[in-house]
């Protein structure tokens, strides 16, 4: 009479025999799609190349002392004055395009990932705050978001450029300013849905403190859709940085990103010196496509509606 008499529930294994964590399950499902896996591998390789740029690049394209405009505008494979080969050609400053691309990747990916992570953090905090507090605080945050989304990106970038000056960090700030609202809105939408779920009610019923509910229960469950958005957004941020550079408000010329290189090469489009924008363009394309492939598939995996 003291404990439960028959405990037949103890023996049978759970429905799914797996003992994997949600993360493991994610990995398994992800790996199942070859295209997405390919995308991931490509991206990892690209990221590695970017990280190792100082080691593998033939030249430090940011060091003006090693550039020589007499080596300018060489076609791919041509030799420089002192016999060094320029595999992908050089721009008019005598900058080796291969090195510039590797270093440009560093900046592009750094800016893309960096700004996305920061914007995500800010957006997450704002969105959760808005969704969970509701009322006028919610309204205030959402109006801020409206305001942000109504501003043309170039104007924001230009204002920040004027106030802060030019630099990679400034571009990051501009990109964060451009993106956070988007996350805030997504998080808020998710949080409003999650907030109504019974497990949140259960947590409240258990008398758990407010902060625990918001950060321990609500936040982790708002994250997955956000991660998908973020993956895509990294790609978007890279492209956006390219557009800002095109419009003349991007990174400094002496530290070119991929976008800057393309924008520079844009001037050479008609001149027959295709390599100045072609190779950076292809690199950007591959990077962005690989990230999007990953994100796309993540979205499919994480979308509960499509899960059988």
């Amino acid at each position: 009479m003291t404990t439960i008499p028959a405990t037949p529930m103890l023996n049978p294994a759970p429905v799914e025999v797996s003992v994997e964590t949600p993360a493991q399950r994610l990995v398994r499902k992800f790996v199942a799609n070859r295209l997405a896996l390919g995308g991931l591998i490509v991206f990892v390789l690209i990221a590695l190349a970017a990280i190792l740029a100082p080691l593998i690049a033939p030249q430090n394209p940011y060091d003006l002392a090693v550039l020589d405009i007499m080596d300018g505008s060489l076609a791919p494979g041509e030799l420089s004055g002192d016999g060094k080969p320029f595999l992908l050609g050089s721009d008019e400053q005598g900058r080796d395009m291969l090195s510039a691309i590797l270093y440009g990747l560093r900046i592009s990916i750094g800016v893309g990932v960096g700004s996305t992570v920061i914007a995500l953090t800010i957006g997450l905090a704002m969105g959760l705050f808005a969704a969970y507090s509701g009322g006028w605080r919610d309204a205030l945050v959402m109006r801020l978001v409206d305001l942000q989304l109504g501003f043309p990106p170039i104007l924001i970038a230009l204002i920040l450029l004027a106030i802060l000056g030019r630099g990679v960090d400034k571009v990051m700030i501009a990109l964060v300013a451009l993106q956070w609202a988007y996350y805030a809105r997504t998080v808020r939408g998710n949080a409003l849905v999650e907030r109504r779920k019974e497990y949140i009610e259960a947590a409240r019923c258990l008398g758990l403190p407010y902060s625990r509910i918001v950060f321990g229960h609500l936040m982790p469950n708002c994250l997955p859709p956000l991660i998908v958005v973020a993956t895509m957004q990294v790609a978007h941020a890279i492209a956006l940085e390219a557009t800002l550079s095109f419009l003349g408000v991007g990174v400094p010329v002496t530290e070119p990103s991929l976008g800057m290189l393309i924008a520079n090469g844009f001037d050479f489009m008609m001149s027959g010196r295709y390599w100045v924008s072609f190779f950076p363009g292809v690199t950007l394309l591959i990077t962005v496509v690989s990230i999007n492939l990953v994100g796309d598939h993540l979205r499919d995996i994480l979308n509960p509606r499509l899960q059988k």
Partner: protein, 323 residues
């Protein structure tokens, strides 16, 4: 009614805050006079110009003057063009509107069929191919694609003109390109350029919508009723699938109109995006402010229209009839 006023005030606050930010922002970027005046002008002339433009007053005074004007329906006069900012914008608006409409139309005509196909066979080769290609639409920088289009279709093949709006014809007192053959030819490339991103978006929305709707009971029920497959897809599925697509596209339309900057720059399309860029370059504050205010109003209007269409498509949203 309290609600009405409250929300109205909130909306006005947004606009006001935006105006303040633009004032401060433009002030921070630089002095418009530096950009406008001839470099040979002497100090007296510069000073006279500053006074003429009212830039000698403290910023807050300029702002109050602006607000005062705005309350009387005057959003200021362009520093650069010496014309009412609103008129400048409205003059250019039809061009952008036309471009955006053409782009959205293209996105729909191409995107929906592809998206539906991809959604019906999500794991087939065709479906995957469509999705992979649609990633390109997201990935390529607009300016790069625009230039490529010009290179290929205007320069190399020479089928289409590369720049400008071409001949226009008047309808409702407004000049439109699509009414003339020449204008239409001018419209095609920029519209494709602008449509690229949206097409990818539509493909994705249509695919997601298709996948979601196709697994619904009412589709199965429609099949169980013995309906033909075309009817199931075209009537039962499409109508439901279109609801989110139309909503998102409607909202996107706003951003297409408001921010067609890059395409208009590349194709020298005389729309408001180009005006915005040149206003920003010249620090033409009245135009920037008016532009943003009109953009906000445009967004509101578009949202209203979207809701109307939404209601048209989704009877559940219509006002409750007495049941």
């Amino acid at each position: 009614m309290g609600y009405v006023i409250n929300r109205l005030l909130q909306g006005l606050m947004v606009i006001a805050v935006m105006a303040v930010l633009v004032f401060i922002g433009v002030y921070a970027i630089g002095n418009p006079v530096d950009m406008l005046i001839s470099p040979e002008a002497d100090q007296a002339e510069i000073q006279a110009t500053i006074v003429r433009m009212g830039l000698d007053k403290p910023l807050w005074e300029q702002f109050l003057a602006f607000i005062n004007g705005a309350l009387h329906g005057d959003l200021g006069t362009s520093f650069l063009y010496n014309e009412p900012a609103v008129r400048l914008i409205l003059e250019r608006f039809p061009a952008t509107l036309e471009l955006a409409l053409a782009a959205i139309l293209m996105a729909i005509l191409v995107g929906i069929p592809l998206g539906v196909i991809a959604g019906l066979k999500p794991n087939g080769i065709v479906g995957r191919a469509i999705m992979t290609i649609s990633i390109l639409g997201f990935s390529l920088p607009t300016f790069w694609v625009g230039m490529m289009l010009i290179m290929i279709f205007a320069v190399n093949i020479g089928w289409l003109p590369s720049t400008g709006r071409g001949e226009t014809a008047s309808l409702f007192g407004v000049q439109w390109s699509f009414l003339t053959g020449d204008g239409l030819a001018h419209l095609i490339l920029p519209a494709i350029n602008l449509a690229l991103f949206k097409t990818s978006l539509v493909i994705r929305l249509a695919r997601a919508g298709t996948r979601e709707v196709i697994s619904q009971d009412y589709i199965k029920f429609a099949r169980a009723k013995g309906l033909s497959e075309p009817r199931v897809i075209l009537v039962h599925m499409m109508k439901n699938m279109m609801i989110p697509v139309v909503t998102v596209l409607g909202l996107e339309f706003g951003s297409v109109v408001a921010f067609a900057v890059v395409t208009e720059t590349v194709f020298s399309w005389p729309g408001i995006g180009k005006l915005l860029i040149s206003s920003i370059v010249h620090l033409d504050r009245p135009v920037i402010v008016a532009y943003l205010m009109l953009t906000v109003m445009l967004f509101v209007t578009i949202n209203f229209l979207v809701d109307l269409i939404y209601a048209l498509l989704d009877p559940r949203v219509r006002r409750k009839e007495s049941a």
